[in-house]
């Protein structure tokens, strides 16, 4: 729906200050960024991570005692979906060299590299190949490849500053050093990056970057990358098989403690299948669909932390899950699009963030956690109370997209942001003329499974890459480093898993003993609630209808 009169009146205040703001921007006069020392107090007072009572310590498992969000702990303190004794492990339904769980950016990149290195690959995925957060990433992918003005040295510093200096140094080193080659790989596969005529990559700033190193494909960079590498995977049907709508629910180990496959659940026939594999790569992505603290999310439908749950039961520790990323700019109006991501690229291109008075209150390129906390402070009654009210009683602030037209020429918004242009046009809003109303929205799982720079976990033969892993982003990821993460570490995981199976082609006696032990541990710890996990899919169905679903067997055991 278009903006109602009440909001149109408020937009006039944005228009009143626009010309002067554009002038300042053109002269590189920026709203002052916060000093490093000023970030802490704002985060502690206004970032959702710091709200008391929203985290608790995990009672069991390899990271027992670690306090993370209640929603994630609920999944970890839960029993297996299926009685391990029921699964027939004597006859595998599928056999492969490398099993990849999750078919987003990391999984697909891993598949291509594993296949190139001679391994037969099976990808098992919950939804369709490519239905993943990678597809939804908009703004860009970082790599320090502008010779003479940028380098992995500065990329490293930016990442550490954004992540509060607690990132895993080896992982950061690996990511910044492999970044240019990842972009070169994508360029070679025919990814439509925005380029100058002479072939140089166009790059821009993101929050917390000191050099312009954000490569992009208009405002649908992730979709462009995902479509390209998915298409490439489909050129290797001799080596790569994909099973869709078949999420993994447990890992399978052998008697030497190595990972030897997984149990899949067929969402349509409700069967469980056993896949025997010499190595397994977990690339299941994030967990926005847990709606931590009831936040809306930008994440795709399947982002439910399945990989974390499976690997944790198999003994893989987790870290950096105590912080969650709220993207500063999610749609808050119109209601139908609520929570949808508005790329940081708008701010990278110069769009200001403004309160109800049409005034700036934050530098628009702060790291994401700081930017989000400042917006929440502006909106919340306990903060400054300068939020813009929506017709349904929520609050947001303006993101002034029309000023991009004045900074970079008429038609820029339509050309550089086609995805968002069409989204808002469907609701009768022209974002080249009217600003967008936004509020922070649950976006990214900063932490996850512990891996080393070869993507190995502590379980031999088990690898992880992308959002499911933790460490490279520390406590807060910068824009453009998640697409980079999935490309760099997806490729490494595929290469290393293919290498590993050359020396480890014998699988011992397979079992699900770790699952049985975990179920027992839950009993021993006195954990109540009879929860099961992984969640697989969120349930948004009407509670009134659910009450009458006396026998839900037509959907198997989904719930």
């Amino acid at each position: 729906m278009p903006y109602p009169e009440s909001l149109k009146k408020l937009i006039e205040k944005v228009e009143a200050t626009r010309a002067a703001r554009v002038e300042r921007k053109k002269n590189n006069e920026e709203f002052p960024a916060l000093e490093l020392e000023e970030r802490g107090p704002i985060l502690e007072n206004f970032h959702p991570d710091f709200i008391e009572g929203t985290r608790r310590k995990i009672k069991i498992g390899p990271s027992k005692g670690y306090a993370i969000s209640n929603e994630m702990v609920d999944l970890l303190e839960a029993k297996s979906r299926v009685d391990p004794d029921l699964i027939n492990l004597s006859e595998p339904d599928y056999e492969t060299d490398v099993l990849i769980i999750g078919a987003g950016g990391a999984g697909t990149a891993a598949a291509i590299l594993a296949a190139e290195n001679g391994a037969k690959v099976l990808i098992a995925t919950k939804l369709r190949h490519g239905d993943a957060n990678t597809m939804m990433a908009e703004g860009g992918i970082q790599a320090a490849d502008k010779v003479g003005k940028d380098s992995p040295y500065y990329h490293y510093l930016d990442i550490l500053g954004g992540g509060h200096f607690v990132n895993d140094p080896e992982l950061v080193y690996t990511m910044v050093q492999h970044a240019p080659d990842a972009i070169r790989w994508l360029e070679g596969l025919g990814t439509s990056f925005s380029k100058f005529e002479d072939g140089r990559m166009k790059t821009m700033h993101g929050g917390g970057t000191c050099r312009k190193r954000m490569h992009y494909a208009a405002d649908i960079t992730g979709a462009e990358i995902m479509k390209t590498i998915r298409d490439e995977a489909r050129n290797h049907t001799d080596m790569i098989d994909v099973i869709e709508f078949c999420p993994a629910v447990e890992l399978v180990l052998d008697d030497a403690g190595r990972c030897a496959g997984a149990v899949l659940y067929n969402l349509e026939t409700a069967e469980y299948h056993f896949v025997k594999a010499k190595a397994v790569i977990i690339t299941t992505g994030g967990s926005g669909r847990l709606h931590i603290q009831n936040f809306m999310t930008t994440n795709h439908y399947g982002a439910t932390a399945d990989g974390i749950v499976m690997a944790y039961r198999a003994g893989v520790p987790i870290s950096f899950l105590h912080t969650v990323q709220y993207h500063p700019t999610g749609v808050v109006f119109p209601e139908q699009a609520e929570g949808i991501l508005i790329t940081e690229k708008f701010r990278g291109a110069g769009a200001n963030v403004l309160n109800i008075k049409g005034e700036q209150f934050v530098y628009e390129r702060e790291p994401r956690d700081v930017e989000a906390a400042c917006i929440i402070r502006e909106c919340s009654p306990g903060g400054r109370g300068n939020g813009v009210p929506t017709p349904t009683g929520k609050y947001g602030v303006w993101l002034d997209s029309p000023m991009i037209e004045m900074l970079k020429g008429e038609g820029t918004v339509k050309k550089e942001f086609p995805g968002k242009n069409i989204l808002f046009r469907r609701f009768g809003i022209d974002i080249s003329k009217e600003p967008m109303l936004i509020h922070p929205t649950l976006h990214y799982q900063n932490g996850g499974l512990d891996i080393n720079s070869k993507c190995e976990t502590n379980v031999p033969g088990l690898y992880a890459a992308g959002e499911v892993s933790g460490g490279v982003h520390g406590e807060n990821r910068l824009m453009g480093n998640s697409l980079l993460d999935v490309m760099v570490f997806g490729r490494i995981a595929g290469t290393c898993a293919a290498e590993y199976i050359k020396d480890h082609d014998q699988i011992g006696k397979v079992n699900l003993d770790h699952v049985k032990r975990y179920n027992e541990e839950i009993e021993t710890a006195g954990i109540e609630g009879n929860r099961i996990s992984p969640m697989i899919l969120p349930d948004y169905s009407n509670p009134d209808v659910r009450e009458k679903q006396y026998t839900k067997d037509y959907f198997g055991t989904l719930s």
Binding site: L36, P180, R184, L189, T191, S192, D198, Y540, N542
Partner: protein, 247 residues
């Protein structure tokens, strides 16, 4: 902020999902309306944000014979609409090795010879939920204009609705991605700075500065972080920093 499942409070309107009537709140998208009706989507639901192509939908409103299309996650319900979601379409795809191709229009025609069967009926364009002029890019493909196909089809989400409407059994979305890949790979010069930077990294140019950073204390890192020289927002591509030791 609320979860999508929380009950909205506006008037209910009837919709017919695969012929069956449900009364749903008038302001919801088709996707959320079906959840309100009690469905837990398995197929036909992906990003919920209009970019993945999982929820292409065909619908008709009362008293009209016209079939319309949209994405279930983006299209608001209309009273009396009849609809179905098309979660999959069995279109043909030709395998290729991008290294062996050269990026000519003839290569697209060789991999998808059926493009010449296009009868120009425009059903594909009318069937595109992204408002892409599909028939136009098919004409461009027939003419061998790869750059044109790449530009016209850039927003394609590969939902398959175009192919489902095509009387000539074209698989437009696979033709389009082939052309986009060929154009991106061969229609522009490669980025030489990338090649050069990869070489520098292979030769270990940044090894020592990075290892040095990795050994520093948090306090030292904070000082270096604070003193980074920022590339201005509005500056030419050839801007260079004053401190060129690490670039």
């Amino acid at each position: 902020m609320t979860k999508p499942s929380e009950k909205p409070v506006d008037e209910l309107v009837p919709i017919f999902f695969m012929g069956k009537r449900y009364d749903v709140p008038a302001s919801l998208t088709i996707q959320k309306a079906l959840e309100y009706a009690g469905y837990q989507h398995i197929r036909g639901c992906g990003c919920r944000g209009g970019v993945c192509g999982a929820c292409g939908t065909v619908y008709r409103i009362p008293d009209s014979y016209k079939l319309q299309v949209g994405l279930a996650c983006q299209t608001v319900v209309q009273p009396g609409m009849h609809l179905m979601i098309l979660p999959y379409y069995p279109g043909n795809r030709s395998e290729f090795d991008i290294e062996e191709l050269k990026g000519t229009g003839g290569e697209v025609a060789a991999l998808y010879p059926e493009i010449f069967k296009c009868i120009g009926c425009n059903s594909c364009t009318q069937g595109c939920p992204m408002d892409i002029d599909v028939m136009h890019y098919m004409a461009q493909a027939i003419r061998g204009d790869i750059a044109g196909v790449a530009e016209t089809s850039f927003d394609c989400i590969m939902c398959g609705l175009c192919a489902s409407r095509c009387p000539a059994e074209e698989v437009q979305f696979n033709v389009a991605i082939l052309a986009r890949r060929l154009h991106a790979r061969y229609g522009h010069p490669r980025a030489m700075h990338l090649k050069e930077r990869v070489k520098e990294i292979e030769n270990g140019k940044f090894e020592e500065p990075l290892r040095d950073l990795m050994s520093k204390s948090t306090e030292e890192l904070k000082e270096l972080y604070k003193s980074r020289e920022g590339e201005p927002q509005f500056t030419e591509e050839d801007w260079t920093p004053q401190d060129a030791r690490y670039v």
